[in-house]
Amino acid sequence: MASPEPLVDLAGISKSFARRFLVQNRTFRLRDIDISIGRGEVVGLLGESGSGKSTVANIITRLTGFDGGRYHYRGRDVSTLTRKESFAFKSDVQIVFQDPYGSLNPRATVRSSVMESLLLHKPGLSRRERITRANRLLEEVGLNPERGDHYPHEFSGGQRQRIAIARALAVEPELLVCDEPLSSLDVSIQAQILELFVRMIRERHLTIVFISHDVNVVRLICDRVYIMNDGRIVENGPAQDVLSNPQNEYTARLLEAVY
């Protein structure tokens, strides 16, 4: 499935920063992060809170920089991208966050939120085409397009997460980075959004980085998995193998604790 040249190639990435821990700051170190993701792969990044997985997501999406190592995207070193190429990168790589309320503009209707990202990344489209596309996207993620005139607060958490996904898909990204997209949702809604992801993976052939602390969800949808603990990758491999026959002591402990 993976093409010979990986889509995302992180080698020896390190980053240290002060993280506020209760009252004092502590230095957090991300060390020796090697991640390689082929086109069309669904890759899980599994770890507990504070393991550094969100920081890795932010590095992949270039929301944050790093201190050492190198990051190649489609074979290009991202630090050498021109302005124009950086812009193309942004429409190629989209992110879905844990909290769908925080990621939508509360003062924009949900349709205009979706249209806004079309306006930025698909400037050739007329307004009418943007409306049609936004409606089609809302429908694709399971929302009634007629509710497009409503504001984010009028939707439930699960619906808001659908909107965030529609917005990310609007620009037809190659890579979708999902940072704990299910964690703030109720159990029955989690299963709905999980179904949406599975459909998305099948129909759109997206490359997905799925960041989660939920072993069971990662087992169900990911081809490969990286296990993170304390700023390092402790184990990686095919999800089925790693999660049924862990080689690392930490992975084993984590799996044992899962209900």
């Binding site: 029955s188 709905q192 169900l220 209900y259």
Partner: protein, 324 residues
């Protein structure tokens, strides 16, 4: 069978400011030594129910029903105050958030010894109280209690803080421990340790436990019986072993099918269509009818059955699914 430790019969809970009924027709009983689970999604009323039942809710009150604890019926007038007298003695309560249930300006040792004083009175003496506190701390798995005794809550991790809260709750030697989502703020490994700690304590000290969680799989593996709440209604009480093996209430069944439990394949995880309804909406019939694949006209029209005599197992399904 002996009298249950806690018996809740046909209880309804209303909000103080507008009298709106939030939870109605709830009956269940918790036996001595039993580990009893309450499961529900957000808005199901599980936290409102337990907080009001144990006198911890200022904005809601018991508007109907009867509650018997340890053989004594607690009168509805002055209910919260009467229940609060039992809190911290016969009943221990552990909240979800270990960050807010400890005093951040007081050393943890002091907080535990204070609880012991309150439970047993001053005559114990400072030395013996301190010893008792440290014994409790090591019992709940806090390493080096001598060192930990003089530290402040912020010097502990979330899991350790939750253990301190447990030490305080257990210092009273309660008959019943109520834990409302005690592990939601914790990591998987810590969660398992804290749950195991509760179960172990229950087994060794004949402690009855009410464990409230949104995680049906966690409860299925941990408790004896589970009450399932949805939209302010008690829909089902099942034994843990019945889940996945027998026909249970359609909502409980659907909730179980949602969970990507460890031995499930993707095809076995089935979402429930629609959105959960919140407690407090005026309704006739079954709250789950709008999402239930079995629903018929009767589900929206008939009054919901109430668990008679707080029987051990119960299904409120108007179509009789899960009724044994």
């Amino acid at each position: 069978m002996d009298e249950p430790l806690l018996k809740v019969e046909n209880v309804a809970i209303s909000l103080r400011h507008d009298g709106r009924s939030m939870v109605a027709g709830v009956s269940f009983a918790v036996n001595e030594r039993e580990v009893f689970g309450i499961v529900g999604e957000s808005g199901s009323g599980k936290t409102l129910l337990t907080r009001t039942l144990f006198g911890l809710h200022d904005d809601a009150f018991l508007s109907r029903g009867s509650v018997t604890f340890a053989g004594e019926t607690v009168p509805l007038s002055g209910y919260a105050a009467a229940m609060r007298k039992r809190l911290g003695h016969a009943i221990g309560f552990v909240l979800q958030d270990p960050f807010s249930s400890l005093n951040p300006t007081m050393r943890v040792g002091k907080q535990i010894t204070e609880a012991i004083y309150l439970a047993k009175g001053w005559p114990m003496g400072a030395e013996r109280t301190k010893e008792a506190a440290m014994a409790l701390m090591s019992e709940v798995g806090i390493p080096e209690p001598k060192l930990a005794f003089d530290q402040f809550p912020d010097q502990f991790s979330g899991g350790m803080r939750q253990r301190i809260v447990f030490a305080i709750a257990l210092s009273q030697e309660p008959k019943l421990l109520v834990a409302d989502e005690p592990t939601t703020a914790l990591d998987a490994i810590t969660q398992r340790r804290v749950i195991d700690l509760i179960l172990d304590r229950s087994r060794r000290h004949k402690l009855a436990v009410i464990l409230i969680s949104h995680n049906l799989e966690l409860l299925r593996q941990s408790v004896d019986r589970i009450a399932v709440l949805y939209g302010g209604q008690l829909l089902n009480i099942v034994t843990a072993g019945e889940i996945g093996t027998r026909t249970i209430h359609p909502y409980a069944e659907a909730l179980f099918a949602c969970i990507p439990a460890r031995d499930k394949r993707l095809a076995d995880v089935r979402a429930i269509p629609g959105e959960p309804v919140a407690a407090g909406a005026a309704r006739i019939g079954c709250a789950f009818a709008s999402r239930c694949s079995f629903a018929e006209a009767v589900c929206r029209e008939a009054p919901l059955p109430v668990n008679p005599g707080a029987a051990a197992t119960f299904s409120a399904c108007l179509l009789g699914r899960g009724v044994h």
